[in-house]
């Protein structure tokens, strides 16, 4: 896949096919009595047609196409992956570690992603924000944030 429209067109084509097939499984029904998969089947079918035409038209005007590599050229892609991994880890650990601990560690690591601050100030910032958000959301707005296995 050399350019963005080809690869994304192909992606949505697969998604569209998946949607259409599962809609048929859920039940298309009849025109008299449309089933649960009725409208999603049409949405999937239209998606298939549209993504196919996107995919095919990207071959026609090659010059206006953007290649995949240029999308990420000169950017700090590693940082994105790092942030996503941190967020996913937070999602999984939130319940067991509790809000206070997991949030503190998340912030501590996140503040270092783009900043060049001293460890001491990052530590203080993370502590401040964690406690501050706990006061706002847990005590003030009663959001019932997870307590974790340690009980806080």
């Amino acid at each position: 896949m050399r350019n963005t429209d080809q690869s994304s067109g192909l992606f949505w084509l697969v998604v569209g096919i998946g949607i259409a097939i599962s809609s048929l499984k859920y039940g298309f029904g009849t025109l008299h009595e449309p089933g649960p998969g009725f409208i999603t089947f049409f949405a999937g079918a239209i998606l298939i047609i549209l993504s196919l035409s996107l995919f095919l038209s990207s071959f026609r005007d090659q010059k206006t196409q953007v290649s995949l590599q240029t999308l990420w050229a000169g950017l700090e892609t590693g940082k994105i992956l790092y942030v996503i991994v941190l967020l996913v880890a937070y999602t999984f650990l939130l319940k067991s570690l509790g809000f206070l601990i997991s949030t503190f560690f998340l912030l501590f690591l996140l503040f270092r992603v783009k900043g060049t601050y001293r460890l001491k100030s990052i530590f203080l910032m993370s502590l401040l924000v964690t406690v501050g958000s706990y006061i706002i959301f847990e005590i003030w707005l009663k959001a019932q944030l997870p307590k974790g296995v340690l009980g806080f």
């Binding site: 429209d5 859920y26 409208i39 998606l47 996107l54 942030v83 999602t91």
Partner: protein, 503 residues
């Protein structure tokens, strides 16, 4: 006059202390997110939506609306002072506002932006009060087939007006319809697209989707950028008030922008953004000195600022009278109204007059508050602008995480939000617009319902959409819009065919 009676009734609602407080909170948060780049009104409203579930519904909607038009105000500040639009509708303000600031006229630029927004907001609220009730009365005659066609029209207009490729926008609309229909089918009670996850039986929540698509994805895009120093003007803000000459040059652009924005705002699809661009183009054409545009013409600030504000008010018309949202923010408000058990539609005005008139008049009061908030407090907003991004983005992420979790006290909601965050990031990279997805997602279940009801009504005949006159007109417009981009293609194919035949 009946209308004044209603407006006084609305003022009675809006001036209640609790509603005043919520209105103030709304416009304050709105200005804040407008000032902060990387956090727009869509993300902010979806963030605060769960927090309003325990508050009175009228006060909540007043606050959420306040965030919306407040952000339009705040967005202009960053455009003028740092050349970074706080949100999409203020992109145009950069063109001349920043140039004015470079010439040492940041004060009048900020001043005229605030006044233009205030005047436009006021005019639009009056327009809303006059136009909504008759429209709602007309909409009462609509049945399921009319509603279905209207929703198709809404989605089509949106994909036509939204930025970028119409093909891609349509694709996102299709995907959105499917996302909106995830969960138990109301008629047969069978699950659709739940992948065996219990939490999906209730459907995919709007809040995690919107926060992911518009909040998380924006942060991810900013994280990969190499940081550049933001330069903020160290001018002292003496004389925020525009002088007489400024007013002379601005007053007509403001009035034209107000009218234009209001009507473009009613149409589905990026009303505020589009209207600001159209207003700028119009003022440049009408101006006696078009060469000054882009070099600090005050009319280039006044017109678009007026347009984007009145567009936000115009956007409320389809929501409050037809129950159809015209942009992503309105889609969230629709979701909110559903949760408060006040489904918007033609009956809303009569069944919940306190909500309708209260919210409209609160917008007027909110505009006044914004004027007071923005002009004297400009120094504070400038200070907030100086919060460096490395510190800011973890805070934005944390707000999103807490917001998503507290929906159901379930980490799965966070996972859903992250999923849509990554999707949104890739969509921005590959130039897909998120707005059609969100709108279609909200409309999806409504479309499913009205389509199936229409077919039940007609006994399974699709001709029902073509035999009812209102339907026929609406679907005719849809066909026209869909064919517009294809027409040049057809003529091009014809030409190549002719050429090959000649050869």
């Amino acid at each position: 006059m009946d209308i004044f009676h209603h407006i006084f009734f609305g003022l009675g609602v809006a001036l209640q202390p609790v509603n005043l407080l919520f209105c103030f909170t709304g416009v304050l948060i709105g200005t804040l997110v407008g000032v902060l780049p990387g956090l727009g009104p869509v993300a902010a409203i979806s963030l605060l939506l769960p927090a309003t579930f325990r508050a009175p519904p009228v006060a909540s909607i007043i606050m959420l609306s306040g965030i919306y038009y407040g952000a339009m105000y705040g967005g202009s500040t960053t455009s003028i002072l740092v050349n970074i639009p706080g949100e999409a509708a203020s992109v145009v303000t950069c063109f001349d506002g920043y140039q004015m600031a470079r010439k040492g006229r940041a004060g009048p630029a900020l001043g005229i932006a605030a006044f233009a927004s205030f005047i436009a907001g006021t005019l639009a609220v009056v327009g809303l009060a006059f136009m909504a009730p008759p429209l709602a009365a007309m909409a009462l005659k609509f049945g399921p087939p009319e509603y279905f066609s209207l929703m198709v029209l809404g989605l089509t207009v949106l994909t036509f007006l939204a930025g970028g490729s119409m093909l891609k926008s349509l694709m996102m609309a299709c995907f959105g319809v499917v996302i909106g229909n995830v969960g138990l089918d109301l008629i047969t009670a069978r699950p659709r697209f739940t992948f065996g996850l219990d939490i999906l039986l209730d459907g995919v929540g709007l809040v995690p989707v919107v926060m992911g698509l518009f909040g998380i994805s924006e942060v991810l895009l900013n994280v990969e950028e190499k940081l550049s120093e933001r330069k903020i003007f160290k001018t002292k803000f003496k004389g925020l008030l525009p002088n007489l000459q400024d007013w002379k040059e601005s007053i007509w652009p403001i009035l034209r922008g107000s009218g234009l924005g209001f009507f473009l705002g009613i149409l589905p699809g990026g009303g505020a953004v589009i209207s600001s661009f159209v207003s700028y183009g119009m003022e440049k054409k009408l101006s006696k000195h078009p060469e000054e545009f882009g070099k600090g013409a005050i009319a280039g600030v006044a017109g678009p600022e007026a347009a984007n504000n009145s567009a936000t008010a115009g956007a409320f018309i389809p929501l409050l009278t037809l129950g159809l949202p015209s942009n992503a923010v309105m889609a969230i408000l629709l979701g909110a109204l559903m949760i408060y058990n006040m489904p918007p539609g033609p009956r809303l005005i009569t069944s919940h007059p306190d909500l309708f008139w209260g919210v409209i008049t609160s917008m007027y009061i909110g505009n006044l508050m914004l004027l007071i908030l923005n002009l004297p407090l400009i120094g504070i907003w400038v200070k907030i602008l100086k919060v460096p991004y490395p510190v800011l983005f973890p805070l934005i992420l944390l707000f999103c995480l807490i917001g998503a979790y507290s929906l159901n006290n379930n980490p799965v909601e966070i996972g859903l939000m992250l999923l849509f965050g990554v999707l949104g990031y890739l969509m921005k990279k590959f130039k897909y617009d998120g707005a059609p997805l969100v709108l279609a997602m909200v409309l999806g279940p409504l479309m499913d319902n009205s389509l199936r009801q229409s077919l039940l009504m007609s006994g399974g005949s699709g001709t029902i959409f073509f035999t009812r006159p209102i339907c026929l007109v609406i679907l005719g417009v849809v066909a026209l819009i869909l064919l517009l981009p294809v027409l040049p293609l057809i003529s091009r194919i014809r030409k190549t065919v002719e050429k090959t035949e000649e050869n």
